[in-house]
Symmetry: C2
Subunit: 509 residues, 2 copies
């Protein structure tokens, strides 16, 4: 069934959430000029009636557009299309020598695929582009702190492999990845109880490309794909790019809720993506019982589990329970060296069941003709020399110290309504905000207070998830984390205070 109104058409059967279809339709009209800057969007109630949907769905679409910078809402007046210049705040278009596509160019808006035009890809981009004061305390950036990157030892490995392999290190790598690296990875996996030979390892550009590859290998447009609610924003972008319909599985402190999972299960689900150790954004580590439940469910439901184990070696207390892949060889195992060593390696990998692996190799090759041989040789050398193990031991101690400093300061300063769990793996901590609080407002207020945090709105499939913000404690020192906790507490106080005085209405129009 198709419903049309105000130039938007929604198809119930398309598999895409209705709010997304409304947001996509409106953003297309804004981009191609049908809705010019300054135009007022129809009141949410009118549009909902015309499309035969709920008002909340339209509100959610307007929020998404507002998040992406396409519109701005003024209380009591309505929602308006923004000026083009406000949509691309950080870019110096004026200096560009390129012919201006807006003046007589090709009709790019109508040439674009549904994927590229989707709103969810723009959302994270806007946050990533925000300028912030140089002295701001960064609890948003999720990569090893600059002081923790092993520059000198890695420089020596690079130099060694350039001298040893020379021209070979500068050529194309084998399709599956450089053998030395796959050997090193498989030895490491076996040590952690995951049976794998070098032949089972496929090297990818970070875990990000591994999950992109999986989304493309498994998803046809409209297919359902399970994720944790909340989940990693990057998987939502990729599922959106693959045309999947993401389904958020509610989670408690142990992991995905088994009853909810059973209730959501239906034929044709193509996978369940999850991070068992130090999950992004919640910092949660799956209990052993839940791991066993998940593996049994996967077999029963014939839905593949995609285990993103970026945090395997980044445990801060006891080492985590066995990996899902060690419990069941049908689990697809994905990991990366970006978080535990250095993002610039662009080295991740995947261990997949043979029936899938054989299809992934040519697809990975088609996507980028393989990852850099040079960086793979250097990383293999780094592991072989024992630098990796030493680096992990050192950074675990430092991250533990940072976590403890942050946890203590948060306990001391946060208002009682804001709660959190102490993470046992990884470098992420999730603050649960009181129901009805806007994570984006907290993000903005924190920004004004000189702290950078990640609003959980980018992590929610439905946008209806419980509000929260993600704190990363990898890049700042204990002292600055303590100061950051203090500033953030003040920012949250300000938002909660404003909310109490204004009442609960968050209506946009």
């Amino acid at each position: 069934m198709t419903a049309r109104a105000f130039g938007i058409s929604i198809e119930k059967a398309s598999g895409l959430p209705i709010f997304q279809q409304i947001a996509d339709g409106l953003s297309a009209s804004i981009r191609n000029g049908v809705l010019p800057a300054g135009a007022r969007l129809p009141p949410t109630r009118d549009l909902a009636d015309a499309l035969g949907t709920h008002r909340n769905t339209v509100v959610r679409a307007y929020e998404a557009l507002s998040g992406a910078g396409f519109v701005v809402s003024h209380v009591g007046r309505g929602t308006f299309v923004t000026e083009l210049r406000d949509r691309a705040v950080t870019r110096g278009d004026a200096t560009s020598a390129t012919l201006d596509a807006r003046a007589g160019g090709l009709p790019w808006a109508s040439l674009m695929s549904r994927t590229a035009a989707s709103e969810s890809l723009q959302r994270g981009d806007r946050i990533a582009r925000r300028a912030w004061p140089a002295d701001a305390i960064n609890m948003s950036r999720f990569e090893p702190g600059a002081d923790l990157r092993p520059v000198e030892t890695f420089r020596r490995c690079l130099d060694h492999v350039m001298r040893k392999f020379g021209a070979k290190a500068m050529g194309y790598a084998p399709r599956e990845g450089v053998e030395e690296l796959r050997e090193g990875i498989s030895r490491d996996l076996v040590r952690r109880g995951i049976p794998a030979s070098a032949d089972d390892v496929l090297v990818t550009a970070g875990s990000q490309q591994a999950i992109d590859l999986l989304a493309r290998a498994l998803v046809d447009r409209g297919d359902a794909f399970f994720v944790e609610e909340p989940t990693y924003s990057g998987i939502l972008n990729l599922l959106s790019a693959a045309g999947a319909q993401p389904v958020g599985v509610p989670c408690d402190d142990e992991g995905p809720d088994p009853a909810a999972l059973e209730r959501l299960t239906r034929p044709g689900v193509k996978g369940f993506y999850l991070m068992p150790n130090g999950s992004n954004p919640t910092g949660r580590t799956l209990s052993l019982a839940r791991r066993a439940d998940l593996v049994a469910w996967s077999r029963r439901a014939t839905v593949p589990l995609i285990e993103d184990d970026y945090g395997a070696d980044m445990y801060l207390d006891a080492s985590p329970p066995p990996s899902l892949r060690s419990l069941d060889g049908e689990v697809v195992y994905v990991s990366t060296f970006s978080k535990k060593l250095a993002p610039a390696l662009r080295c991740g990998f995947m261990v997949a069941p043979r029936g899938l692996h054989d299809h992934l190799v040519p697809l990975k090759h088609a996507m980028d003709l393989g990852s850099s041989a040079l960086l793979q040789y250097a990383l293999a050398e780094f592991m072989e020399r024992g630098y990796m193990a030493a680096h992990l031991a050192r950074t675990r101690d430092i991250y533990r110290e940072r976590r403890d400093a942050l946890v203590e300061a948060l306990h001391q300063h946060l208002p009682r309504e804001v709660t959190f769990e102490r993470p046992s793996s990884g470098v992420l901590l999730w603050l649960r905000l009181p129901g009805g609080t806007s994570a984006e407002q907290v993000f903005e207020a924190a920004h004004r207070h000189g702290v950078l945090v990640s609003p959980g709105s980018v992590n929610s499939v439905s946008g209806q998830g419980a509000p929260g913000v993600r704190l990363a404690f990898c890049t700042e020192t204990p002292d600055r984390l303590r100061e950051g906790a203090k500033r953030l507490a003040r920012a949250i106080e300000a938002v909660l205070g404003e909310r109490r005085s204004r009442g609960p209405s968050l209506d946009l129009v």
Copy 2:
């Protein structure tokens, strides 16, 4: 309309070539065991009648399956499904500790997307995996010769940037790429008459990822996309992965035939991908007149041109005519450092009209979180020091010498029925075989004679293109190229001789 027979269903309206749908249907049945090893495929005539299609279409599907190793044909007996072990010749499954997915695993064949299951992705994989004698002369490998990679100067640049940028070089790069590199690239473009600022440049993992990005940004399933016939096999893989319907535009020695292009033009075509300088596989450089024609056609037809200019700096005679992008700012310009410097950099880039560029940046980020900062800094340093210009001047001389040696030897040894043009840019030369010759048979015969060449069957959209083989003259010395030409001539003689004695029938069943 849907036609079904022998477990295959074809949909005329799906936008996918019929032969492809037949091949995909059969390969799915083979992979999931419905057609076990040893099973005989129906005679081509019977299957064609049952599906209401032409017999040639079924023959083409069987050829594709045979190319991918799924079936084997025996003259006079029919076409049979191969043993699983023959389909994965080069892999050591036996040593794998992974649980065997074929014994009680998840139903991967039915979980796979149409993309991953497509036959075209498997085709090139089979050729890439062929083992060959260590002393074979390699005229297939398309990357800078091992003796031409500037190991020492690049090692110094790497070391310098590790010392200078340290931790920064090991972190995530900005979404568009490292500024120093984008500056260097834009200066280089301006010098070649292509107006571009650093803000217009998007760094990608080789040109391969740039065209993947474009395919995803422009194509919805079933959309038509123009390519040269024959064209680069990698774009066919990507278009197949994006669900596009590739349309081959016939070409003559100057480039795409304008009359054929007009005839093929229809609404909804999402792009025309072409390599103007030293095209892969034909080695042809577009004439200026054809460049002007193409740009005018693109505006008239509102179809974007995707200019893959890997060969811009690899001209061997006069420098090539102006780039398409310098003629029209709506052209999407793509290039790479893989062929002119070193594949292991995984550095390519794209300059796109602003209306498209803004959508490509978040999509690129979603795909792999950006390219390696370290390699980008090192490449920028390599350009800044003038090493790049010196390297190009040196390799141009060497490649010219290699081309001249190969061309001379081919003129001397090849049978008269085999013709070719002398390439003026790049490192590829295309041999046109007499009509009815099988490029795959020439590939096999050359292999037996100790020469590796690339069969043009991977370059043809329809599989009906004029037969040819591609010779790359970048990795071997003049002496070995001369010897290779001699061996190849003998191999071609053998194939032509066998064909003459056997008569023209190439029927598979």
